[in-house]
């Protein structure tokens, strides 16, 4: 008797479990779609990597909870995020991508960060016919290698300083002397090439143009030579650590220019934390900033479909998904937007097959909190426009383009001596 009761209970339990698992609408029956990511959580790019992971987690959460998962043939699939720390090392990136594809069986690989690491990982994903989405490698050369599966969300490097040059041409047309000094890396050289070409196109006079090695710890010889060239303004940088050094040593030498714009460093809160008032007035191009005005309405105006959280929702999700009390910067936004692009790509393709999703992404155009998204036939981002920030009274102000301005640009910026005495960059 007892045996029969036990058997019936077990059968009922199993039936209940089956109902739970396969009942329509519960979402538990469908397999997850897995994003693999060899993130830079330590080492050289830890700062940007931490932001990217926060942005991805925020948008994965949005897709799963608010959007209800990714729809394929009427069935909803949850997104899963598999992340490893590549320590910002090339050799780790390649081995982790291999592991993500062959062991973890992910459906898509997100690049680590930086042009160098992105380029290093691309041959591995190509050899596995795996979609490889690039949120941190801006070098145009990535898209000149004939890769079939690379799709970019971050904007191309050649456009980084276009906004700064446009701005200076408009607000101070008499200042023609520009100095360029960039890190000797794939990405920064490409930014320099784009800046030089555009500066000449706008009629600026490039009075100084040099590179410095990665991992440099003293820039004084270069800055001495640059000072002798007497530029009106300086464009340069490469990554966070050398950007910090660049500004710090200009302050040490009391080398003053009317504007200083540094890529990939001036936009980070840590830049101001380390340099204090010396960072006042320093500018940087950014792919996204808090305060940009992309919304469902602006998407409608442009005739583009909208997906994703609003800016406020994204910030709140980002904070929920990061341990520290961090604010998202553009590294977080571009990585998050990439999740949204992938979700739309899979839905459009009706499959997670890399070939089909790659084709769908090629035809995709949309807008999110990050701005426009559209890629050309090589997978390079062409739909996104950059903004320029400036440190004003210890806050990042959006100063360019005019349509996105939260504050007027301060030009010329205060001298380092003035800043030492407590002067801050505040527009009149």
């Amino acid at each position: 008797m007892m045996k029969h009761v036990a058997e019936r209970c077990l059968a009922a339990l199993l039936a209940g479990l089956c109902l739970l698992l396969f009942a329509p609408g519960t979402g538990l029956a469908q397999s997850s779609i897995v994003i693999g990511h060899p993130a830079c959580l330590s080492g050289k790019y830890a700062k940007a990597g931490e932001q990217a992971v926060g942005g991805i987690k925020a948008c994965v959460q949005w897709v799963n909870q608010e959007y209800g998962g990714i729809s394929i043939d009427g069935e909803k699939h949850k997104l899963e995020y598999k992340v490893y720390d590549s320590e910002s090392k090339k050799e780790s990136v390649t081995s982790l991508i291999g592991r993500l594809i062959t062991v973890d069986k992910v459906d898509v690989v997100f690049s680590a960060y930086s042009s160098g690491l992105t380029l290093r990982g691309a041959p591995i994903t190509e050899s596995h016919n795996m979609l490889y989405m690039d949120h941190g490698g801006a070098n145009n050369k990535i898209f000149e290698q004939g890769f079939d599966y690379v799709v970019q969300t971050i904007g191309p490097a050649t456009s980084y300083h276009k906004g700064t040059l446009d701005m200076i041409k408009q607000i101070a047309p008499e200042d023609k002397r520009v100095a360029l000094a960039y890190e000797d890396s794939e990405f920064a050289r490409m930014v320099m090439e784009g800046a030089e070409n555009y500066a000449e196109e706008l009629g600026f006079n490039v009075v100084f143009k040099r590179t410095y090695p990665s991992g440099v710890n003293d820039l004084t010889p270069l800055l001495n030579a640059m000072k002798a060239a007497d530029p009106d303004f300086v464009l340069g940088g490469g990554h966070y650590e050398d950007g910090q050094l660049f500004c710090s040593q200009m302050a040490d030498m009391d080398f003053n220019v009317k504007a200083l714009s540094l890529i990939a460093s001036a936009t980070l809160p840590a830049f101001y934390e380390a340099l204090g008032t010396n960072a006042e007035g320093v500018m940087g191009p950014s792919h996204w900033e808090m305060g940009v005005t992309f919304s469902e309405e602006s998407a409608k105006e442009k005739g583009l479909p909208w997906i994703g959280p609003s800016q406020e929702e994204f910030i709140s999700l980002f904070k929920e998904n990061t341990d520290k009390n961090m604010k998202p910067d553009y590294h977080a936004a571009e990585a998050g937007a990439q999740v949204l692009a992938y979700a739309l790509g899979v839905e459009k393709a009706g499959s997670t097959d890399s070939d089909k999703v790659r084709k769908a992404l090629g035809d995709l155009e949309f807008m999110s909190f990050y701005g426009g998204w559209d890629v050309n036939e090589n997978g390079m981002q062409v739909g996104h426009t950059m903004v320029n920030i400036q440190w004003q009274d210890s806050k990042r102000a959006l100063v360019w383009p005019e349509s996105a301005q939260t504050s007027k640009p301060v030009y010329p910026m205060p001298t380092f001596q003035e800043k030492d005495q407590g002067a801050v960059a505040v527009p009149e």
Binding site: L41, S42, G43, K44, A46, K47, E50, D184, R210, T211, Y212, P213, G215, V216, N217, D218, T220, P221, L222, N224, A225, A228, Y240, E241, D242, Q244, L245, S248, D252, M253, D254, A270, A274, L275, G276, N278, D420
Partner: protein
Amino acid sequence: MFGEQLLSNLAQGIVLGCVYGVATMGLSLIFGVLKVVNVGHGAFIMVGCFVTLFFFNSLGMSPFVAIPAAFLLGLGIGYVFYYSAIRRLLKAPELSTLLATFYMGVILQEVVKLIYGSEYRGFRWKVGSLSLGFTSLPMAKLYAALGSIAVALILYAWFRKTRAGTAMRAVVEDDEGARVCGVNVGGVYAMSFALGIGLTVASGVMLAMFLPVGINPYMGAEYTLKAFVIAVLGGLASPYGAFFGGLIFGIIENGSYTFLAAIPGVEPFGMTRFLSFAMLLIILLIRPTGLLRAK
């Protein structure tokens, strides 16, 4: 204009060279006495930079106060590493000590990462600058150079005027002979290793005074590479030679920029590194023991 730039770069090079010099003395001391190549050298410098950061940012104290604190911390770390690993490996093949020191560096990096995280940090020490006419030198850099010279002189006096220093020199000369004369060679080994590490960690303070930005757990690799060049330049087993080697290296690294920049089509910064390593190769070919012999 050319002359002014050259003078300015040379002045910066001298100041930087003093810091490079003191940052290499520990490496040379350890090799001179124990014949151990400390490939984790840069990580110990990094620890000194974080000590400065702690004193300046957390305690609000001058980086000068961090020099003795960093030295004592380094001394402690040195004794711990010596008795836990190096002592057992002194008679083992060279590869064992290479690996041991490499992993000491890795351990330090990871411990610092656990405490501070991996992000780049910096601080701002506002102490003005000194105008030399052709250029202005930040006082923080000058203090770093003066601190380096002071540390080098104290070490020199310690070697020459104290019994422990004399014992150490005797062990460098002939460890068996020193043992016969009653010197506690094992104790000298331990003291030399600890002193070398103490000096290296203290040099990290000077480096952080010179460059108060870009401080992170993985910053040491660049300095390890430079320290090897400087140590070979000055004579691998000679701490004083290392100091002068650092001075020469700093002058060449900064001074050569002005000449290289005058050559059309040359990226001078990349070439200064090439020049530094080419110089190392030439010195090794001409004088394999370095410019100054072990003393």
